[in-house]
């Protein structure tokens, strides 16, 4: 639900990482701004603010999106998954564990976006080829790693998840 209130802000009700959330936002604010500045979910990063780097990736109603290119009012009634919801109280997601063990991060600022994007890939395709991983992750820029260890980490996690399934 999105209701405009007198201040010019909009009251938005949405679901983030399985929990019901309310926020007030200006209509011009992006979902990324609201996640980071209103809700304190700073795992999604701004790298370009125009959909070219993937550092702000979240999943909205099952679709991988750049949250910088989604208006926050569009979140009304939606279900959103962010990096903060990837690990569970029981522990890390296999992708997170695999990124650690494969040294698939350096500065780490693109890492949340890559993990969110890779998780979306493996939910759609549990057994991707190296090419499919590279194709899917081409929307995420990493300037540190050269992608080699990221691609290996995703393939490694996919194998672990298939073994556990």
């Amino acid at each position: 639900m999105a209701t405009e209130i007198q201040s010019g802000k909009v009251h938005v009700q949405t679901t983030i990482n399985g929990e019901s959330v309310d926020f007030l936002a200006e209509p011009r604010e992006s979902l990324l701004e609201v996640l980071r500045d209103n809700l304190g979910l700073t795992g999604a990063k701004e790298g370009c603010n125009n959909g070219n780097c993937g550092a702000c990736n979240v999943v909205m109603d099952g679709v991988l999106v750049n949250s910088c290119c989604v208006l926050s009012v569009e979140a009304a009634g939606a279900s959103i998954e962010t990096i903060e919801g990837v690990a569970s109280p029981e522990g890390l997601h296999p992708l997170q564990q695999s990124f650690l063990e494969n040294a698939a991060l350096q500065c780490g600022v693109c890492t949340p976006g890559f993990i969110v994007a890779a998780k979306a890939l493996l939910e759609e395709n549990p057994d991707p080829t190296e090419y499919e991983v590279r194709w899917w992750l081409a929307g995420n820029l990493c300037r540190c790693t050269g992608y080699d260890k990221i691609v290996r980490a995703v393939l490694d996690a996919a194998e672990r998840m298939r073994a556990e399934a």
């Binding site: 370009c48 603010n49 500065c107 693109c110 590279r134 929307g139 995420n140 990493c142 992608y147 260890k149």
Partner: protein
Amino acid sequence: MAVDTRVGQTIKHHDEEYKVIGTRPIRHDGLEKVTGEARYGSDINLPGQLHGKVLRSPHAHARIVSIDTSRAEALDGVRAVITSAAFPDPGDKLTGGGEAPGLPLKFKSANMLARGKVHYHGHAIAAVAAANPHVAAEALKLIDVEYEVLDPVLEVWDAMKSDAPVIIEDLYTARADGTTAEEPSNVAAEMLYEVGDVDAGFAEADLVVDREFTFGVVHQGYIETHNATAHWLKDGHLHVWCSSQGAFTIRQELADLLDHPITKIHVVPMEIGGGFGGKTTAYLEPLAALLSRQTGHPIKMAMDRADVLKATGPTPGGYVRVKLGVTNDGMITAGYANLAFDAGGYPGSVVGAGCRCVFAPYNMPNAKVEGFDVVVNKPKTHAYRAPGATHAEFASETVVDEICRTLDIDPVEFRLKNSAKEGDWQLAMPPYPRIGHIECMEAARDSAQWQTPLETAPGKKRGRGIASGFWFNIGFTSSVTAKLNSDGSVTLLEGSTDIGGTRTSIAMQFAETLGISVEDVDPIVADTDSVGQTDVTGGSRVTFATGLAAHNAANDMKDQIVEGLADLWDVAADSISHADGTFSANGKSATVGEAAGLLEEEGVFPIGKNTVTPTREGGAFAVHIADVEVDEETGKVEVLRYTAVQDAGVAIYPPYVEGQMQGGVVQGVGWALNEEYVYDDDGHLLNASLLDYRMPTALDVPNIETIIVEVPNPGHPYGVRGVGEVPIVPPPAAMANAIHDATGVRMSHLPMSPARVQAALAAEA
């Protein structure tokens, strides 16, 4: 042959065995980086904070006639507007510490906010503080600036002409002989490096190859944009949270630019989302500080991507000429090089470093290198990973390849014959210590890729290229303070911003020396109030220099433990031995953990500390092999296979050494094939977005095979050489040599974009 680069190949030229060094633990800061919990500069918000934005010049070269901020100040929600008048007059002062000390402070100050004149498109003019970023952005549109637009000068070869518009009216060339030019020009400095008799050397040559190369401007391309938050308290204490390669450098720059006591400035390094040399200097920090002083509120500022590309410090474009003389049997007799680099809008390019590296892989008895630092109407350029070396060695390694082709000499054999080795001359530096260029070249020759013939495909133009690279590495100053906790664990404070796993590479050296596990060391990147002087994370220096400080601090702690145990056990300190983390004397023994507990009972809490400024960096060599396929129709070059070989001295933390190698290669591939600032004739940057300034994606590159060569650096107790920078040096030359192998065409400009390759193929045909 498939090679598993998850654990790449390592070739050791030493017999040392270590317990911790060379292992592959999970990095200490990894968990919070895979969960999104790590706090980068833009992730903090302070109570009462306002937001700052910067107005930037729409012109490349213009005089500022007037600035009227009154309409912006009147906008609801705007709290302050500043122009260059907010900065103290820099007078004739020089800049303090940092990567390039000793330049006139007035240039740095005018680059923060333009003073009377704009020098490039995107030059900061004014800054606004407002209740939120959107109001601040609206306010920028209400600042009225009147410009007198001037003709821009964009390329070094134009800027060096005697009739070129002079960008800085009182800039007089500092000549190589120590004199100063009498007429102002755009040439800030000339440099000359010479050894032997270059004319005699060329006279001995049977073949002389003399070629010219040009370069576009490229950006470091870190994914996190610049940001800063500042809080100026009423008693003059200034707290700054920033994303920088050097918190101490930012502190020094703030002290210089704001004429403020350094003791009152406290800089907190947040996690940093990449730097590569581009985050070694202040941009937003002084503006946030001044706006905070004016409003009494904390100010948060962040650049958008267009700001980053337009107005931070990309690395220079420019010109390099290389001339090499050789005998018919392939011995180099002489070399000459001439390098002219963009300084950008103010003096101080990385051309000197390029001069030092241009012939570094070779033993060259006669050489002369001239360098020119040239001001043009582009952003003030800065370091980018082995700054200057990539340009210089693209030129020299391409000429070497041409010589090998002309003389029909194997490129590996030529390089082995002429390779620099221990004791050989180094341009403008002491003779080489033990170095590993020959070992790298042999490893490349023996590699799976070099030993596997290039697979041909009908109708496809494929080729293989090889190139060497050198970067001298830098020592600078580092500090470590380590506290022994009562359970035997250690809290290690260090001042080096961690961009790629260096918390762990530092902690591993500490653990090795004290004889504990790396998991028992908790490394913390500390703020400027909490640890000793530490220079920038740059020059591939952190694992080398801060690692050395950690080793020394561990020895200091060990000595204190020994003294404590000597009292406790009533033995002489020198009778206590230490091996494998256990202290023993007279039949008594204690592990570090047991010792910590015993000493705690006596009220003894050892703190090991060290500040060190090492100078024996050792120098790093790399050899790369590229296989490419060139699309004759479009000019697009695809990388089919790539092997990177590098002398790491001793690889402390191998997965992250491999990561540096792979990351450097891919940045180098981007530089080689695609990345370039595109300007119109008026000096407007036309591609200031990550769509149009296109960096390699996962789909653009293959896996990068790595071979770590270990030739220990005699200047470090564990043999460390810096590893971060040299892997960007060989890729453009390796790619150019591969393109030639595929097509017979020599490329002389970076990037070798599809349009340029297509044009070169058309010209050849």
